[in-house]
């Protein structure tokens, strides 16, 4: 099955970069999946906006 690597794979005689599409056997696909090579990386949380300093409301 065709899979897209989400991170580089350097094993089993291969040296593949992230993003490479490879057509692999079912067992190899399962092995890549188990190794986390097919999972999309978690999106980085957006940086929190700086909280504005509150000026005390003068009465």
């Amino acid at each position: 099955m065709k899979v897209t690597l989400q991170k580089p794979y350097k094993a089993d005689g291969f040296d593949w970069p992230a993003g490479k599409v490879v057509d692999v056997s079912n067992k190899f696909a399962a092995k890549l999946k188990a190794g986390g090579y097919l999972d999309k990386p978690e999106p980085k949380p957006a940086p929190k906006a700086k909280a504005k300093s509150q000026t005390p409301i003068s009465e």
Binding site: M1, G13, D23, N26, K27
Partner: protein, 148 residues
């Protein structure tokens, strides 16, 4: 997925190979592939065989052949195969039915074998595709298994 019903389309049969078990990659641009099993026989004919030869099975062997179109930039094609042959690499090979999808069709059966490339040829005519062909002799047991 369930076992495929009816006559199989030959284009669905693909060959995947690699140098470690369960790390097989499809051979790109294949146009034809075959796997062949044979059994030698032991002749046990005697005077009491009634004039007919009698046999028993002996040594079993198998080979796998494929041919295809050459592409310089393919992941697994002639360039990789010739490296494997020169290095004497043991190859792990899956001869499988991908059905109408891109992966092995669960419920069908496939061959899972190991072997060495014993013959590899590249052919280049005039104004035609560059092609290649390969024969792999299988070592050890020929495994026929259900695709999962």
């Amino acid at each position: 997925m369930a076992q495929t019903t009816g006559i199989i389309n030959a284009s669905s049969i693909r060959v995947f190979l690699g140098t470690t078990n369960d790390s097989e990659v499809v051979v790109d641009h294949v146009t034809e592939c075959s796997i062949s099993l044979s059994t030698d026989i032991r002749d046990i004919t005697t005077k009491t065989s009634g004039g007919w030869r009698e046999i028993l099975p002996a040594l079993k062997s198998a080979s796998l052949s494929l041919s295809g179109l050459f592409a310089e930039d393919a992941t697994t094609n002639f360039n990789q195969l010739v490296d494997h042959q020169i290095a004497g690499d043991k190859l792990f090979v899956v001869f499988t039915n991908t059905g109408s999808g891109a992966s092995g069709n669960a419920g069908d059966e496939q061959f899972d074998v190991e072997g060495y490339i014993t013959s590899l040829e590249q052919t280049a005519g005039t104004e035609d595709n560059v092609t290649f062909s390969m024969t792999l002799e299988i070592t050890g047991t020929v495994v026929r298994e259900v695709i999962v």
